[in-house]
Amino acid sequence: MSGALRSFLAPFLGRPIAFLGLIVLVGLATAAIFAPMLAPYDPSRLEPVARLIPPSAAHWFGTDQFGRDTFSRVIYGSRLALLIGVGVVSFALVTGVPAGVLSALFPRFGRVVMRMIDVLMSFPALLLALGLIVIIGQGVTNAILAIGVVYLTTTSRITYGLTLRLRTETYVEAANSMGAGAVWTIRKHILPNLISPLLVQASFVFAFAQLSAASLDFLGLGAPPEIPSWGNMLAESRIFITRAPWLLFFPGLSIAITAFSLNLVGDVLRDRLDPRFREMLNGNRR
């Protein structure tokens, strides 16, 4: 196991900033998992007396208009961020990768599927998500699905391109010449070589999902208000922008740091990729 870990960590050791990105992600995960222990206050406990207190010893990140402790809400907010990220990435991978791989290996099936993906991609990302939310309704799961569909399109298109490229590799032709069927080719040749490019794609999708989810929350169409989410916190902070700037600063910073670290990790992993695949991964969009 240590071999795989070392080979995973290798690219980061050389570049200090990237290593920082990795540490932040580990921090995000710990915050999300141990939120109850880490948060000094109950995030949704109203404390009218302690309304709009600037950052102080008692409240590191100050309090909001209902007297709730911003630091605790940021810690609990990391739970939703992690949930959204993991949810969107897994949805995009579980649907996008098979669609891309099968489309590349079975051209007749591929032509139809890739046409549909093209059509979906003609809808700008957020509009597609908003349209879906209008149909399936608001809520965390629906937000994950709506954003997931957006990144299903880019993931399947990138997987399609990668698999088309892999299919022409000599070792795949050699396997075919030895009687390897589609299942064997996918299991032994296509998927193992898709892992690192898809890892890069996953980090970018995780980052973009944070931004899309925050936008939905900000528009009031994402997570319900009672769930502590960085986006909701920003939406609520708009009114007190001048009187309580800390309400604007800390949640926004959390989103930015998370997305920035993921982009950084994605970049570092992409630089280690085979140059032929590197260029294909630029096709991402927000």
Binding site: I17, R115, M116, D118, V119, S122, F123, P124, A125, L126, L127, L130, G131, I133, V134, I135, A207, L211, A214, S215, F218, L219, G220, L221, G231, L234, S237, R238, I241, T242, P245, L248, G252, I255, A256, A259, F260, L262, N263, L264, D267, E279, N282, G283, R285, R286
Partner: protein, 315 residues
Amino acid sequence: MWSYALHRTAAAAATLAAASVIIFFFIHFIPGDPLYVLLGDSATPDQVDALRSKFGLDQPIVVQYLRWLANVARGDFGTSIFFQVPVLRVIRDGAETSILLASITMIWITLIGVPIGVIAAMRHGSWLDQGLSGVAMLLASVPTFWVGLYLILVFAAWLGWLPSSGYPSIFEQGGLANLRYLLLPSLTLAAPNAALILRLTRASMLDVAREDYVRTARAKGIRPARVVFRHILRNALLAVVSAFGFTFAALISEAVVTETVFALPGIGQLVVQSILRRDYPVIQGIILVTVVLYLSVNLLVDLSYRFLDPRVELR
């Protein structure tokens, strides 16, 4: 010469046709009877009958689609439940803001993204390069509205130089000076996308610099600056131009958020309001308009490629 242009236009038309089917079904996907979805819950019986015949809702679905397509072609996107006026008029009112916002933002993206990307590439590895790339990545990782809110806080609230919201049309009192209302919104919208274009320009410049024909140019004794602009930049821009297609899509998406932050009377804010007001015909209309706009911009980028890259005839 024409086969490429015709081919690309046909492909775009086919995509639009397929997208229109999805947009048509948008109303039917929404839970509830399409009639009440279109007219709102307080619709009167004769309004319901009038609409049923107009859209042939009692007809088979294909006829309904064709009927809807015919109406849309004539500019009749149905009536807004909230405003009780034709949807197209509602959209047209918002069009000026959104188009101006998008155009100014595109100018920022081109002026900031491409040149700085070139400079970063030319100073590859230097502190300047790393600084610029770092800032670019940061800007690409920051929520658009957070940037917007901070610009409002600094330039509107603290310094008071610029208005923080609203946008009186340039055709009304104040004329072109009203464009200053769009300064902060366009910078907010441009920040993340200019960052992406910057990183893309830099990456493609560095890729092209490793090509054999650049080494040939240097071997000819051509001065470095000329090699960069005549050989490297010209080929690198091919990749950047093709990226303008999906940058425009990102622009439309983020405009929705930016217009909400700056309370601009554009199509983006209209979508959000319509969703909250359950004004489905307007939502459907806006989605259709933006898809048509996006596909035409993409087609323009595709066709312009024809003139930039002589090899494109082969594709």
